[in-house]
Symmetry: C2
Subunit: 347 residues, 2 copies
């Protein structure tokens, strides 16, 4: 960093001092919040609707690289990916808790930047941050977020897809993965020559997809407004192929999707080709798009056909047919999951 920046050591603040500083950045506005940060537990007013609960852990060096992921974006994304899980149940997130372990490499100013992103995501999605834990880590940063939500209408699971249902996705796919490849390429160039300026300005869309994913609240609101109940739903975190296989396995069905129907943004397509990557493979296995994959009865077709953010990519078949993709060349290819597996890394 070129300019002189203030650095407040966490060791000078202590845990309670840090919690106080964090709490001051948080403002609660969700009507269900009875008590936020500051007691043994947060208190949320009861409701007869189902309560949804989802949690994710992000580890520095595994899930993010602070060399090219700004802390504010990291905070935003850490919240966004959790909210996405709640939306994927046809539910509305209302509250989160944020726990983190951090080494003394991080200053108060850095943590505040992280919370700027966390708080921005909370405001954007109407969610209150009501608790957490803050502790030290021998190395690096670990963030664990738990999201709580309330069912919107009926809860939608992964296991309700039926033969002949339409298979649909929101938004477009592959962008987040392609964005990550660009960030890693420019980071490698930068490491070799620290006078190099990263070339990022040509890739605004795919970088945004990687650094600032937006969970599809709008789709759940659209379902609610139009009285649409998907038969099954999941969010796309590990890649379309992996999520399709989850739905097929849990619903005991097969499916056919069409390569030419896969929604891929032009910038994603062009950048994938520039990187010598197949845009289709990026869409199928890239992951981190945080779009929704869902199935619905054919009779709902009229309700969704004109909605701009939904693409029908195929349909559900019987289990024995398996999960297949019809390629642009008209060949039938079995769908296999190649989502990255964080556990493959060595100590």
């Amino acid at each position: 960093m070129s300019k002189e920046e203030k650095r407040t050591e966490l060791s000078d603040l202590g845990e309670f001092g840090l919690i106080k500083e964090i709490a001051e950045t948080v403002s609660n506005s969700n009507k269900k919040t009875v008590k936020g940060i500051g007691d043994d537990a947060a208190v949320i007013s009861g409701s007869k609707k189902n309560t949804l609960l989802s949690t994710d852990m992000l580890v520095e060096g595994i899930h993010f690289n602070l060399a090219y992921c700004p802390l504010k974006h990291l905070g935003y994304k850490a919240v966004a990916v959790n909210l996405s899980d709640i939306y994927a149940m046809n539910a509305i997130p209302s509250h989160i808790t944020v726990s983190m372990a951090l080494s003394n490499r991080f200053s108060l100013e850095a943590i505040k930047e992280l919370y700027e992103g966390i708080n921005l995501a909370c405001e954007t999605y109407g969610v209150d941050l009501v608790g957490g834990d803050t502790t030290s880590s021998p190395t690096g940063l670990i963030i664990s977020i738990t999201a709580v939500g309330e069912s919107n209408n009926e809860t939608v699971y992964r296991n309700g897809a039926k033969e002949y249902d339409l298979l649909c996705v929101s938004g477009d796919l592959g962008g987040a993965y392609v964005g990550l490849q660009i960030l890693e390429r420019e980071h490698t160039v930068f490491k070799g020559n620290d006078q190099a300026q990263p070339e990022l300005s040509q890739y605004p869309y795919v970088l945004e997809r990687q650094l600032k994913p937006e969970p599809r609240k709008d789709i759940i609101e659209f379902f609610n407004k139009e009285n649409i109940l998907p038969s099954s739903m999941i969010d796309i975190s590990d890649g379309l192929a992996s999520e399709i296989l989850h739905i097929c396995e849990q619903s005991q069905v097969g499916c056919t999707i069409y390569e030419e129907r896969l929604p891929i943004d032009q910038e994603t397509y062009k950048t994938a080709e520039e990187l010598n990557l197949s845009p289709t493979i990026c869409a199928l296995n890239g992951g981190e798009d945080y779009e929704l994959l869902f199935t619905m009865s054919l009779k709902e077709y009229d309700k969704i056909k004109d909605y701009n953010g939904i693409t029908i990519i195929g349909h559900i078949t019987d289990k024995n047919s398996g999960a297949n993709m019809v390629s642009s060349g008209e060949t039938v290819i079995p769908i296999t999951a190649q989502g990255w597996d964080a556990l493959l890394r060595k100590d």
Copy 2:
């Protein structure tokens, strides 16, 4: 370890394989569980009562040392400390999620041992494990648990203590800290001479207090049965002194406690003296006892005076008097918090 043990590498299983193995060890029995592990989020049936939410993160090398903390005990304790936070709100925990980051130093067998402890705590306290996240860590083990509960009766906060209220604690204090000192002493001896056998058999109570704390579900059940509503409550995780100051600060009151009233088990007392530690300081600042500290109106005195697990250690005063302890020698000493501060450690 002397016997040959089977070691299944997590990298051979992959994340989904590990989740499947973990899910098979988990059985849900809480009536409110609609859907546990296996979808984007867990589903809990709604209730008009308040929902409580608490979370804790435990980091290897900061909060636990696997050289002397068996994985099964670690799992049990990680759950117990979270449930303690829910009980401290006068509520009943019902569900938890467990996230962990682990390095490839851990085998499937080690993780199963950890989950044995987690599952045992869940069974003991009637809590269902309904979700989580499993990922890799560059080094060591990090566990993040979120507990969800439902209010028992009225929710009890830290801020309701009133002048003249009785100040009470459950159980006895200082044991967990003294137990930790014994474990660290024997570990140091063992490191110097690996033929040495740790001398632990004389310290069964304090070791149990450190390794297998039990949150005070029974006290909350007693309150419910006797229709007792504490005016304020907190669980003792950082040490009695620190928790007293939280109640005084949030309730805008002072207090007087009496050194001779502090409940200290005989083994704790004797072992503290053996270690040249003041039993009173261990009780005040040791932490990790997971007992309940609470205040209640004088008129409730008859309801609690004969209950074996509750000790009245003092009373609430006006704010200007401050928080003080009357020592055995009749001198008045201001109470100051010296709970260990995890953030003081360096990277």
